[in-house]
């Protein structure tokens, strides 16, 4: 039998039968219009003039809008207001929205689009970090974080290595592209059905853009067909556009970006150029690291600074670095504004420090895992990060010991070496990488969540919370939490679509914090209701036998019953009790709230405790490369992840495996390329290659760390799981590098970047071969 924590995803049956509804599936009346976004074809240009008159004449077209038609504020930037909803006099990237069309069919939209005349004056475009640097085109002031004196320690350090690392952009490739349906209400009211990770922000922006009040906008999110950060801020865009068209036509308007448009118009994971220097001793113990992160922010700010901050806070990954200097620059380019993506800057930071460790090992001719182990944060000393937070409840050593054994790391290293001696044209490599990921929004006020729990007189429960469901199983966990708190079976609990009129002013479902925060808010609401119920029941039972009162604290909720644990005969079924409560005028609905305790982060000083706790994990991967073609095969991955006490192991496993494979894509086949004009060359799945079923490790052994409840007080002692496993894919990347390195018998440091495409691998091998010849 399945235990309570093994229930399936609450939408699983809907998924497999096709009954689960996404934005494009919502039944709408025959008034529905299709919206289309006309976007810039130039990376940077002045709009000298435009003419919409012919387009407006097309039969079946109901609106063609430009920036002048915006009733409110022409801005949709989430934090910094530097993103116009529709371009005014200038376009700053290819894919930037200029005009909106609403028509009866898609064909009519296209017909109208062809009739729009635009006169552009092309301007010089900045398309690389290098060019932005040359022009000193920063998106905002540089930032620095420091501990000790990296410069002088580097000078006196026995060994020093340095270099540059490039990590590539990544497209989210959620299966459901950005979509939104706006339906007019009465007067100024508007109902927005969005595929958004952040309905409250969507609501705020729609209100601003339409020039109305927040209480006139209702945003609802049933589920997303994948988000991964790509719908944290950029789902707002489609929402604003469809809302504008809905307002202009007073009809329901749906916009669903087709795949190529979605890829062209929306931002990606930031590509980085990282410069590094590290000093260390004969044993590989690091004494100083200097890093300079340069990210490509794109044309607008979006979340680039928060993302860069997380890079800076994860530049240490799992290692104690006594002297550390981290500099960060976010560059402005003429590309779509880059945005949140699972890991949120963490992967780029960790790729740098893992490269450093890997290089140190090769330099010293030592096993990289050993160097990693040596530099891990200590349990009692060497345990304070460069930003001053103590790494408490450190599980790195525990996990390391387990995975080194379970993966038979040492034995396999030898086998890999043997294989490489015997084979000239195929080489194998193996690598272990850890992850220590800080859980909390680093913008401290965002660490809050709300819920609204309703219990009905038939004993069923409807949970509303501020988080959004994008496949991660958040609603399932909320369902489990509510059922457990009320002591009822899960089938009594339903989790509602996220709706801004039910739970207001929420934070994005991001930073892996959805279950932690919303779970606590749900519990908080339930505690309130239970308090009322038990108070009432205590009175009832005491009245019945006043010489033998029921103490409220003794009342338990379990097995679909409510009972007095001191007097087992005093019990009532949950549904009867709810009926009773209603008759006795007890409110069965309550709002809940939660804010994460003990986080406090001084952004200016770069010091404090930004994270409530850390999640830890480790992976060992083995890869084989074909020396002649650069193609790789992922032979085996062992992965051990700390999730605390898992609320639902099936769902958590899914997050671990799915996150890891997404990371493998970033590290291997997913390559974003722009041409010299700023056109996205990889704008469809024809040229942009996310992993298929054939790309997962041939032997894939994933485990959740057992018997390790979260020592800090999270909901049911669980840990956040959404992002950390993504970064474990760096083990695959470094296993490939190890295999390349074997071509030169590990004597020469290979040139390497991320992603390790077949081209990167082959050209790196060819360069190695040339160096060997010389």
């Amino acid at each position: 039998m399945k235990t309570e924590n093994q229930i399936p995803h609450d939408s699983a049956v809907g998924h497999v039968t096709g009954e689960a509804i996404y934005i494009d599936d919502i039944p709408v009346n025959d008034q529905l219009l299709i919206g289309k976004v006309v976007y810039s074809r130039y990376a940077h240009a002045k709009i000298k003039s435009f003419d919409l008159s012919e387009a407006k004449k097309v039969h079946g077209v109901h609106a063609v809008l430009c920036y002048k038609d915006i009733p409110g504020y022409n801005q949709m930037g989430p934090v910094i207001k530097d993103e116009p909803v529709l371009a005014e006099n200038e376009v700053t990237f290819i894919g930037q929205a200029m005009f909106l069309i609403a028509a009866e069919t898609e064909e009519k939209c296209r017909e109208a689009e062809m009739l729009i005349k635009i006169d552009y004056e092309p301007l010089d475009a900045i398309l690389t970090i290098e060019k932005a640097t040359e022009k000193n085109n920063l998106l905002g002031p540089p930032r620095e974080m420091k501990r000790g004196d990296a410069d002088s320690v580097l000078k006196s350090s026995k060994h020093v290595i340095g270099g540059e690392l490039r990590t590539g952009a990544q497209e989210h490739w959620y299966l459901e592209t950005q979509a939104c349906l706006s339906v007019p209400g009465e007067g100024k009211e508007i109902n927005v059905f969005s595929s958004s990770q952040h309905p409250s922000e969507t609501q705020a922006l729609v209100a601003e853009v339409l020039g109305i009040k927040k209480h006139e906008v209702v945003v609802e999110v049933k589920r997303m067909g994948g988000g991964f950060g790509g719908k944290e801020t950029q789902a707002n865009h489609v929402a604003c556009w469809s809302a504008l068209l809905c307002y202009a036509t007073k009809r329901p308007v749906k916009i669903r970006l087709v795949r190529d448009d979605d890829m062209i118009m929306t931002g990606k994971r930031h590509r980085y150029l990282t410069k590094y220097e590290a000093g260390f001793d004969d044993d590989g113990l690091i004494n100083a690291v200097k890093l300079e992160f340069n990210s490509d922010g794109g044309a607008a700010t979006d979340l680039s600074f928060a993302i860069m901050e997380r890079t800076m806070l994860h530049a240490d990954n799992s290692y104690y670095i006594p002297n550390m200097s981290v500099k960060a620059l976010v560059w402005k380019t003429n590309l779509p504004s880059n945005t949140a993506f699972r890991g949120f800057g963490g992967p780029q930071g960790m790729a740098a420090i893992e490269t450093i460790i890997d290089k140190i090992a090769r330099y010293l001719k030592k096993d990289p895992a050993e160097i990693r182990n040596k530099n891990f944060y200590g349990l009692n000393d060497r345990n304070v990060t460069h930003y001053g937070q103590t790494v408490e409840h450190n599980r790195l050593h525990l996990i390391y010991d387990q995975i080194i054994k379970s993966s038979e790391y040492e034995k396999r290293c030898k086998e890999v070496d043997d294989f490489n001696i015997k084979n000239e044209f195929f080489k194998k490599g193996i690598a272990l990488t850890p992850v220590k990921f800080g859980i909390s929004f680093t913008t401290t006020f965002l660490n809050q969540a709300g819920a609204l729990v309703n219990v009905y007189t038939d004993g069923t429960i409807l949970v509303n919370h501020g988080g959004t469901e994008m496949g991660q199983g958040l609603n399932t966990k909320m369902q489990q939490i509510a059922a457990a708190e009320f002591g009822v079976s899960v089938d009594r609990v339903k989790v509602n679509a996220t709706n801004t009129s039910k739970v207001p002013n929420t934070s994005a479902t991001a930073a892996s914090s959805g279950s932690d925060m919303n779970g606590m808010a749900v519990k908080n609401a339930i505690d309130t209701i239970k308090e009322r119920i038990s108070n009432e029941l205590a009175q009832i039972w005491t009245q019945q036998q006043s010489n033998n009162p029921t103490i409220q604290q003794s009342i338990l909720f379990k097995d679909n019953l409510i009972l007095d644990s001191d007097h087992p005969e005093r019990k009532i079924s949950f549904s009867d009790a709810m009926h009773q409560m209603n008759l006795r005028q007890v409110s069965l609905s309550a709002a809940g709230f939660y804010k994460t305790p003990t986080v406090g982060w001084d952004k200016i000083k770069g010091q404090g405790k930004p994270f409530f706790y850390y999640s830890f994990g480790m992976a060992v991967s083995e890869a084989m490369i074909d020396v002649l073609t650069g193609q790789h095969t992922l032979l085996r991955t062992d992965l051990l992840q700390d999730v605390g006490d898992s609320i639902n192991p099936g769902i958590d496993m899914g997050q671990v495996e799915g996150g890891f494979i997404q990371g493998v894509g970033w590290c291997t086949t997913e390559e974003i390329k722009w041409d010299s004009k700023g056109n996205l060359m990889t704008h469809s799945p024809d040229t942009y290659k996310i992993p298929t079923v054939q790309d997962i490790p041939k032997d894939f052994r994933v485990k959740l760390l057992e018997g390790a409840p979260n020592p800090v007080g999270t909901i049911r002692r669980s840990k956040a799981i959404g992002e950390p496993p993504f970064m474990l894919a760096l083990s695959v990347w470094l296993a490939i590098k190890d295999a390349i390195s074997a071509v030169g018998n590990h004597k020469i440091e290979p040139e390497f970047s991320l992603p390790a495409t077949n081209e990167t691998i082959l050209l790196s091998i060819e360069k190695l071969k040339e160096k060997i010849k010389r």
Partner: protein, 476 residues
């Protein structure tokens, strides 16, 4: 001759008339048709170009006295192509009693869906697997699922659900319904279809003779077979195809004939149907087809289409060139047999005349110990277009090269042989030193381009290294 397209959906025959329908044209895709029905919104669009599988449906057809079930990408299929077939979507999988199908149940039990958007397509790919294999191997499961992208799960639980559910000897409620379905399918006439609307003519001939005379009357008409190339003109570029001759109903083109010395493959045989017959005698072609597109794509795509497109990155072309295959062209004026070497003459240009059809491809078995190998270098190993591909053939005389064919794709505007390198190698000793010298000559034959798939530098290196690979696999 008829103008109505008929197929089975939800157990009933649907008759579509295009003349009176403004909503659909003859080049509307099955995906768009299904999504227009409020009852079939489970079928999803993830890309509209055959790369994600979210739109996967199963087509059931009565052939060789039984029903065959095939997964296909509904975004690439024009409505008339499903004439005479049963269209099965995710909505049809529950039993009449409302029970989940075994593939659905195992996906629920094993946490195989997260956001769920890919799931309906995955379910249909699994359903086809279920109907075709009892206890499939991991390789068969991987192949069945390659055409379905999932961004959430990392696939492991989907593979597990496939393994655990495909154990019922392929039987389910569809098996129970087969007698009625067969009757319904038989009741649909297989006569030819001509659909003419104001701006479009769509012909679906029922015989080769009719196809040839239609092509004679309409030399400008676009031929389609599987439409996996042509459909993209509609779904991605929104082109209006004015005249179409759809060969998917011509049985004569679906024949495979083997003799002692050769195999003749009809231009309309789906690539999946070629795999088995060529496995033993034409391993290099077999290898190439295994990494061609996805299972769904290969259920539609044909050799006729690959040769018809004659794309510089068409995967079967270099290997067919290496086999020195013959292309058979037919028109009202008769039949021509063209050696492959002479077939392609430029960028997507061949010697085929406007009134000619490709009817078959003839490949001779290898004799006297000659060897053919094929290679595909692509960013992702499966479901990707080649950056560089190759088909090589060698005849050795002792240790010396007697004759050699080095055909490359992705290196020039067309599939092209490395003639300088071939010349250099002929008569030389087939040994590492010679091969290394030969590798340096590749640049004399090719000046490839840089594009989204790879740089020129990479293409040259890969092309050179494939020679080494070939030597390693053929050296004495």
């Amino acid at each position: 001759m008829r103008s109505t397209v008929s197929f089975i959906l939800d157990g009933k025959i649907i008759d579509l008339e295009f003349k009176n329908s403004e909503e659909f044209s003859s080049t509307s895709t099955v995906l768009n048709y299904l999504r227009s029905l409020h009852t079939h919104k489970g079928v999803k669009e993830g890309c509209a170009e055959g790369d994600c599988g979210a739109c996967t449906v199963v087509l059931a057809e009565f052939v060789d006295n039984k029903i065959s079930y095939r997964a296909v990408d509904s975004c690439l299929i024009f409505l008339p192509m499903i004439h005479g077939k049963q269209l099965i979507t995710v909505e049809n999988l529950k039993s009449p009693e409302g029970e989940l199908h075994p593939v659905q149940q195992s996906m629920v039990d094993l946490y195989s869906s997260q956001c769920g958007f890919c799931t309906p397509g995955i379910i249909m790919a699994m359903f086809a697997l279920y109907k075709n294999y009892s206890k499939p191997t991991r390789e068969q499961i991987d192949d069945a699922l390659t055409g379905n992208l999932c961004r959430c799960t990392g696939y492991r639980p989907i593979v597990e659900a496939s393994t655990k559910s495909c154990v019922h000897n392929c039987t389910d409620h569809f098996t129970d319904d087969e007698p009625q379905i067969i009757e319904l399918l038989k009741s649909i006439s297989k006569e030819s279809i001509h659909i003419q609307t104001d701006n479009q003519k769509y012909f679906r001939p029922a015989s080769l003779g009719e196809a040839i005379s239609l092509k004679h009357q309409h030399p400008e008409a676009i031929i389609i077979n599987g439409a996996t190339d042509i459909a993209l003109h509609v779904t991605k570029n929104h082109e209006l195809l004015k005249e179409i001759i759809d060969l998917s109903g011509v049985e004569e083109l679906k024949a495979i004939t083997k003799t002692d010395s050769s195999i003749k493959i009809g231009a309309g045989v789906s690539l999946n149907d070629i795999l088995l017959p060529i496995e033993k005698d034409f391993p290099a072609l077999h290898e190439m087809l295994k990494v061609f597109g996805s299972h769904q794509i290969r259920n539609l795509a044909t050799l006729g289409g690959n040769l018809g497109s004659a794309s510089p990155i068409g995967d079967t072309l270099p290997v067919l060139m290496a086999y020195d295959a013959n292309v058979v062209l037919e028109s009202l004026n008769g039949r021509r047999v063209i050696p492959f070497n002479d077939y392609i003459i430029g960028y997507r240009k061949t010697v085929r005349k406007p009134d000619e059809l490709i009817t078959s491809i003839i490949v001779q078995k290898l004799t006297n110990g000659s060897i053919v190998k094929s290679y595909k270098v692509s960013k992702r190993k499966y479901l990707d277009i080649s950056t560089v591909s190759a088909g090589f053939k060698i005849d050795l005389n002792g240790i010396n090269v007697k004759s050699i064919i080095l055909a490359y794709g992705g290196m020039a505007e067309r599939t092209k042989r490395a003639l300088t390198v071939e010349q250099f190698l002929i008569g030389k000793r087939w040994e590492r030193k010679t091969v290394e010298q030969a590798m340096t000559l590749i640049e004399k034959d090719f000046t490839p381009i840089s594009d989204a798939r790879g740089s020129a530098e990479f293409r040259i290196k890969a092309a050179q290294n494939l020679l080494m690979k070939f030597w390693l696999e053929t050296k004495k």
